[in-house]
């Protein structure tokens, strides 16, 4: 029993260290679409980055992934989006990680879009999958601690934390002339409660969208004091039916690549991100909805 508890603690510490040190730069969140924003905007991008899609047709998306090759961090999500006139809305549910270190997420986004412009607000709430009692028992917190507040110092300290949190973000994009796309998004404009698993900062980006080639450049400000800003640049080839892309990031320098295909209302996409230290991350996406 003691060994199992020790293993669980070690697993939690390792996973949190990876999330803190490595994944903060990966931008991968529960609803992050496999394809970069300049290529496709949909329900997933609205929940992830508050970037509302121009199309208003309903969409259902299933997302999944294995960050850094860790089965303990496996994630799955389902998202749905809908539009009416210029209004756009999306909702999603996600579950990340195994029961020992994972969390569940519910997210909503509402916004608007017109030809050439879109904007949205997103709200996400998370809660650890472990029960308060389980974590309290591990951390030594008093059993009568109020629900939702538990000791998170797994090193044996007594600092009290919370096992639930939320965040609010906003984003907007414009496409003057349709060829150039510019976006500004801050998914975590305000956070409350437990810190989100990935700290995210303000992102500004610009993309050029040709008929068969697309290229983009984005800059994300450091989400925490003392951190460094990150940049990413990518290029994609192909059209609506099939496309492939590569993307490079800095801090630390790494790359990712992906492919996407569409047949009628069905679309699939896969993305693989390399990391100089950690194993590869894989994300996939299946969508049901009309073509953008």
């Amino acid at each position: 029993m003691k060994v199992a508890k020790h293993r669980a603690r070690v697993g939690v510490v390792v996973a949190l260290a990876i999330l803190t040190l490595g994944a903060t730069r990966s931008r991968a969140q529960e609803f992050a679409p496999a394809a970069p924003e300049p290529l496709v905007m949909g329900a997933a991008s609205m929940l992830d980055q508050a970037l509302a899609p121009e199309r208003r047709a309903p969409e259902l998306v299933i997302l999944g992934g294995r960050p850094f090759g860790l089965a303990a961090l496996d994630a799955a999500a389902v998202a749905a989006g809908l539009g009416w006139r210029s209004l756009r809305g999306a909702a999603g549910l996600a579950r990340s990680g195994d029961p020992a270190i994972g969390w569940s997420t519910v997210a909503f986004a509402i916004g608007g879009a017109t030809p050439g412009a879109g904007y949205a607000l997103r709200v996400a709430a998370r809660r650890d999958r472990r029960s308060d009692a389980a974590i309290a028992a591990e951390s030594g917190a008093p059993p009568d601690a109020p629900p939702g507040t538990i000791a998170t110092d797994l090193g044996g300290g007594t600092s009290a934390g919370v096992n639930a949190g939320g965040e609010l973000g906003a984003g907007a994009w414009i496409a003057p002339g349709r060829v150039v796309l510019l976006w500004v998004a801050h998914p975590q404009l305000v956070t409350r409660g437990a810190a989100p698993p990935l700290a995210r900062g303000l992102e500004c980006g610009v993309a050029w969208r040709g008929s068969r080639v697309r290229a983009w450049l984005a800059r994300e400000l450091a989400a925490a004091p003392g951190g460094s800003d990150t940049h990413r640049a990518g290029i994609a080839f192909g059209g609506v039916d099939a496309s492939a892309w590569v993307e490079a990031r800095d801090a630390p320098l790494r790359a990712g690549l992906g492919v996407a295909a569409r047949a009628g209302p069905f679309a699939v996409g896969v993305r693989v991100d390399a990391h100089p230290v950690l194993p590869q991350s894989v994300r996939f996406e299946c969508a049901l909805g009309s073509a953008p």
């Binding site: 608007g112 017109t114 030809p115 050439g116 412009a117 879109g118 904007y119 906003a170 984003g171 907007a172 994009w173 414009i174 496409a175 003057p176 002339g177 510019l182 976006w183 500004v184 801050h186 404009l189 305000v190 900062g201 303000l202 500004c204 400000l221 450091a222 925490a224 004091p225 003392g226």
Partner: protein
């Protein structure tokens, strides 16, 4: 020493070269927002927005402000203007802009009352002298403190008088007269004549020049001459000041400025929607207390009402008179800065992004402050608008970042220090026959807890009389 000397010489040479061209530039958008030198370094600075009411308009505003997020204070204001009378009243606890002013026409001349201050010539005696380092003419400067009553009659020739405190604690009286562009004035206080000034100017179509010579009762003097030229949308200007460092005018002594200064500015359109802005200035408060500033800024207009701005600047020395602030000037202060800005929009959405960073070594190395700002605005056809502004800033100890924030009746230069972020959400919409504007600010500088501020202001503008 050599670096400071060479930079000073370069700035002076640039300033003189541009001064020879002769011009005045009202301001280039995009340059870093900063309060005037007389403002406290670590405090927010409020300045009135340019009055936009027209003849026959009256504007009433009510507001509630909570600078600590909890305890609110009220603000009230009323402005009106007719063809012969205009006035403004502002009231509010702790409001830097509180006060009243009245201006109008009476008995063949014009009069003013309250914080409405007359200006003599270049402001060496009465008014605010220009800051050599400033892009704008008092663009971010409040009206002088103190109340005065003034009257001026005549057109080609005139006589005028004023009485009041004019920024000083002691009351004073001023008389001035002029004809054909040449003017003279004398200021009296309890001890007799305190200042005297003669000035002359000639302007036509935005081009011209002039000069002022002023002296105090001890014979200490200050003189300033300027030239400006406007050719189409190109504006060039420069001015030179010289005088005794202990000279003080009748106005606020904190705004006396440096006794030795040369400043030149240019705003020149180039081809394909490009504009070039230049500023070169050198000044000296006292021997061994110089300062210099050189700025280059390029604006490029883009399709769909978008635009980009990029600039580079070098600063030396101080802008604060050691005799006024009561402490020695920092030695050999050197700063280089650069900024880039983009703004654009499509449909109901507008976006803007700006990045600015400053270093204490050449080529903007040794970062001392940096700020990145992004803004999202959404406007509905019904007049409801939402704007979200997010800024991430870094400033080392002793440095401050200023973020400009527009409120219903003022521009606030928000002073921020440390390494943190500021988010601002603004809502605007029609309400009760007017417009209501609400703003919520959240400033977070770890490890301190987030600081909330909010304002709600309602403004209604109406006509004093109906159109025929």
């Amino acid at each position: 020493m050599n670096r400071g000397h060479s930079a000073r010489a370069a700035a002076a040479a640039l300033g003189l070269a541009l001064a020879l061209i002769g011009s005045r530039v009202q301001g280039v958008r995009g340059d870093p927002a900063e309060p005037p030198a007389d403002a406290p370094e670590d405090a927010d600075y409020d300045v009135e927005r340019p009055d936009s009411i027209g003849d026959g308009d009256i504007e009433v505003g009510l507001g509630v402000v909570a600078n600590d997020g909890r305890h609110s204070t009220q603000r009230r204001r009323a402005l009106f203007r007719s063809d012969s009378l205009g006035g403004a009243v502002r009231d509010g606890a702790g409001d830097d802009l509180a006060g009243s002013s009245l201006e109008g026409a009476a008995a063949g001349g014009r009069f003013g009352l309250g914080r409405s201050m007359p200006v003599w010539g270049r402001g060496l005696v009465l008014g605010d002298p220009r800051e050599p380092w400033g892009w704008r003419e008092r663009g971010t400067q409040r009206r002088s403190a103190g109340d005065v009553l003034w009257y001026r009659a005549g057109r080609g020739s005139h006589v005028g008088a004023w009485a009041g405190t004019a920024g000083r604690k002691q009351p004073a009286l001023g008389l001035d007269a002029g004809a054909r562009g040449a003017n003279g004035g004398v200021v009296f206080d309890r001890r007799g004549i305190s200042n005297a000034s003669v000035w002359a100017s000639r302007e036509s179509g935005g081009s011209g020049g002039g000069a002022e010579f002023a002296s105090d009762r001890r014979g200490r003097w200050r003189a300033e001459t300027f030239a400006q030229r406007r050719d189409g949308s190109a504006r060039l200007g420069g001015w030179v000041r010289a005088g005794h460092e202990a000279y003080r005018g009748a106005g606020d002594p904190r705004r006396a400025g440096p006794p030795l200064a040369v400043s030149a500015r240019a705003d020149v359109p180039l081809a394909h929607g490009t504009r070039l802005g230049l500023l070169g200035a050198w000044w000296r408060f006292a021997p061994g207390v110089p300062g210099a500033r050189a700025t280059l800024e390029v604006q490029q207009a883009l399709p769909h009402h978008a635009g980009v701005v990029a600039g580079f600047e070098q600063q030396h020395g101080t802008r604060r008179d050691p005799a006024v602030v009561g402490r020695p000037a920092p030695e050999a202060r050197f700063r280089q800065g650069a900024w880039a800005e983009w703004h654009g929009g499509a449909g109901p959405v507008s976006l803007a992004w700006r990045h600015e960073f400053w270093g204490e070594r050449r080529w903007v190395r040794g970062e001392v402050r940096a700020v990145s700002t992004a803004r999202i605005g959404v406007e509905s056809p019904a007049g409801v608008g939402v704007r979200i502004t997010y800024a991430a800033f870094r400033a080392v100890s002793g440095e401050h970042v200023y973020l400009p924030e527009l409120e219903a009746d003022r521009l606030v230069l928000r002073a921020l220090a440390g390494d943190g972020e500021r988010a601002r959400v603004e809502l605007r919409g029609p309400f009760a026959g007017g417009m209501v504007e609400a703003a919520l600010n959240r400033t977070f500088v770890p490890p301190r807890a987030p600081r909330m501020q909010w304002t709600v202001e309602w403004t209604r503008r109406s006509r004093l009389r109906r159109e025929p």
